[in-house]
Symmetry: D2
């Protein structure tokens, strides 16, 4: 992958703090978009290694090089675990990448996407077609420009799968990682309902990863973490599926394979075989899940990313 067009890291760079004492530099060939929406600073840049990158408030949200890994990991383990996901709610995900994966399941009849920031959707529509593939135009899709928590509080709808595709817990978005919020989500799930969220990196942000796990465990009886390496994030990344009825770990690869065929889904990363392996974690991460020094996240004391 190393490009031959430059012999050193120079010119425009994207610098991201991963921890207080660790950071990375990504060379930028071209700035495609740079602006500030009502809520956040947004850049779309082009890098030799990762193609287009979407940055929100200076943190990478996705790259065209590996968004399929992130979005397939976020969406398919829960959708394939569900016997018939007809109605799906996505909170966040204004780039349309999760939406595009959800719509691949032909059993899906309705997807509601709720994002606070209208402009993120507009910018994505214009500059990130390779991510969402015009999923916004699918007639099964409804879009609400609204705070995700508010939407969940006011809606009477119920969903089979809820996908939380949020920015890291910090400031306002921390309200979307608390026990109170997960209870709201649970109240909007059909029986057999499943919720899935990304959940930070297991070593570098272990406290936050474990807090999300423990907080979901307060509300749901089945909570299953799994991970994926997202090169453009510079970190291994965790996801969690939670439910009261469906255990994704006990869905066999043969059943997944059958659902793949029935639903006409094509993937580049996720597979029936991978599904089975996904929920086996190494010993150190299993130990981390038992940490007693990590609190449950609440509206009163929400966990936040430290950087």
């Amino acid at each position: 992958m190393p490009s031959s067009s430059s012999i050193d890291i120079g010119g425009m760079l994207y610098h991201e703090r991963l921890t207080r004492s660790l950071s990375r530099l990504v060379q930028i060939n071209r700035v495609i978009f740079s602006g500030t929406t009502k809520y956040q600073r947004v850049e779309i840049v082009e890098s030799p290694d990762f193609g287009k990158m979407l940055l929100i408030d200076g943190k990478v949200q996705l790259s065209t090089f590996d968004e399929y890994i992130y979005h397939e990991s976020l969406v398919h383990p829960s959708l394939f675990s569900h016997p018939r996901p007809e109605k799906v709610l996505i909170i966040g995900g204004g780039d349309g990448g999760a939406l595009e994966e959800v719509l691949k399941h032909n059993v899906v009849k309705e997807v509601v996407l709720v994002d606070l920031d209208k402009e993120i959707i507009e910018i994505s529509k214009k500059y990130l077609k390779e991510v969402h593939k015009d999923a916004f135009n699918d007639e099964r899709v409804s879009i609400f420009i609204e705070d995700g928590r508010r939407f969940v509080e006011r809606t009477n709808d119920k969903f089979d799968v809820v996908i939380l595709d949020l920015t890291d817990p910090s400031g306002q978005s921390a309200r979307l990682y608390t026990v109170e919020f997960y209870k709201l989500i649970k109240s909007r799930l059909n029986s057999n309902g499943i919720v899935t969220t990304h959940s930070e990196s297991p070593y570098v942000y272990q406290r936050e990863f474990v807090a999300i796990y423990k907080t979901l465990s307060e509300v749901f009886s089945i909570v299953r973490p799994y991970g994926a390496w997202i090169p453009s994030f510079g970190l291994y990344w965790m996801f969690i599926i939670a439910s009261d009825h469906i255990d994704p770990r006990s869905i066999s690869k043969d059943l997944i394979k059958k659902r793949f065929e029935e639903r006409g889904v094509y993937t580049e990363y996720y597979s029936p075989e991978l599904h089975e392996a996904l929920f086996v974690l190494p010993k150190d991460i299993l130990m981390a899940l038992k940490r007693t020094d990590v609190p449950v996240s609440t509206d009163e004391k929400p966990i936040e990313i430290p950087v």
Copy 2:
């Protein structure tokens, strides 16, 4: 993990180029050792996130924070796949970390460690006890200060497991990743013999990872890649096990569990459950293994890391 001792990346840093257009900065609290051996530049530094780090020619080799992930991943999948690994050869690994993992198996009767650089061993003995835990003093261990390839050419010994714990293929070390070298290794294996090597990162150095896979496939009938996230490397890292008789993918978790008990091994990362999941790869990496544009590495045209 973020340390509260500093609010910004400052002072002494370790900067590592991951690709031509991607790099990372690691803050350094203390330089424990800095010098040049006969063969390479060596530093041992202390960082807030990763503890002590061993740098060779400016590239991180291990950190005390996560060397157990690297060394357990390198050593145990092959040793546990082998029914009775009595005689083990480690080429490279002068830090003693792989050695310490090998010696955990009480069936091991003899370990030969061959490293070109005597001083690396001396420096590790002095500064990296938490890595090797004085494994060098175990009476089962013999150490040869010698080029690994030369040793394999001249020795008459045969081994049950050969572990290649080498610096990345570049310059001299590229000779330890070629089809000719792997044939030499094969000639020094007992029946049931297994060889294992680390094999670069699957996206960022995909060409090199696939080349190692294809090169081993020229020599061995069973070749199994698997991966692990090593935080201090900044990259997901691949390993490959090769053999003509033993397929690690078909060793059940129950058999592994039995061997754990028989051999008295304690681990922090690797487990019988993980062993089974380890060899399931996502679709994109399976596709990459079929790339036809990647050549087999030969003495005449060895593959090398591009940075």
Copy 3:
């Protein structure tokens, strides 16, 4: 000057190599323009410390914070040394900053600006008004889009002052720093004619600075270096005035003061007092000017910046 809007260097950065082992990082708040002209990559970015910065091929050309220091230093020492600069040629300087300074002298009747890159002028007109203050519209100004050397070869005009406001000597622009080029310039000077150029940094690029000095000394009998600290360059910067008839070092501050009044010039950095002090150099730089290991720059072997 440190801004309170951020607690660390993060997000978008501008990274500039100053030498092979020295570089700097400048935080960027906003990318105002990013594109590639026929000849070069151009960015206009906004930084907390330096305001808008114009980058060409990843190297800073000016900032709105301190362009007055650069442009006043480039223009006024020669224009004020000349008794009556009526006709001025600027080669390069497509940003209009030198032009604006020249036009402050009401004795100037005609300024010819020659820049290879039409788009640089267009971009500057649009985004850098605080630099050129619409100087392009002054009726005394003619603009030629043309290689500077070609223009000098073909023109029959003669000038009182020639100002070389060029990118660093590298590739094509190295042809504008050679003894052959300076001879062409000399042939286009009126009697009393003066040429001035910036000439790199005196320690970090000492070889290049001295080469320009020695090359001008081959062609002109009076060659006077002087310097200024340009914060946004990260380096102290040298300039050189050359002439066969006028020695800027012997123009008294009283004469400069008189010319200031006659010509109605207002400055923010340069002054009659400073003019006198400007040409006094420290001992180490005077020594450097005598270096015998630095060649004269010729078309056959032009000096180039090493980065």
Copy 4:
């Protein structure tokens, strides 16, 4: 100066924040010393561009490449302005660089050096001989390990010149930049006495530079700022001479030349000619000295460097 030994900024680096949004990276070839004294973190490193660098708490104090510029600029303008500097006090300066310059004046009979940190002196004696040239052993020198302010409070001695060679105003050292401290210094000066201090960078730390100027102006009737470019600092640096009787600006170059000869001083940077030019400042810095928004530094509200 660019070294040919490396093609990119890699391996060990020294990163220094110059402002909140500006920093620089200096490649390090070798770490010569790394440790923590009772008071501060100290490193001596070797860089391709600047030779050995002394870092205190992660900020560069000097380099062997250009310490002569800093130390000659700090010492000689005041010592040469004084008709007969027999007794000199240096506060700070534990590296011995200022000491070495002072001792070049054969009229000097006694130098008292007061530094809080005994270990800095020991480390400098061992590793920085090219800076101090064993000046510590000169029989005219007395060393006191003591807080500089305390020393001034308790001593009954009087001095002809006091040289403040301090770390930047921050925390404890801010007490050595206040009006109360300067009054103490004044009380320890002989008639004709002079004090000199470095005083930060004129644009990037303009507020602090001006504060030091205004604070000295509260205590002394003659206050003269001047500057020098110190490549290894990455910034142009200011100094200030203050006195009630001697105006360095009115000492002619001929008188300086005479004193050079009488006192047997040899320099590499400073010269009689430079002395005259030194005190001429550009218009923008003269304007800055009149800023009314910058307070005098007092014990109650000391100014501090913002980073």
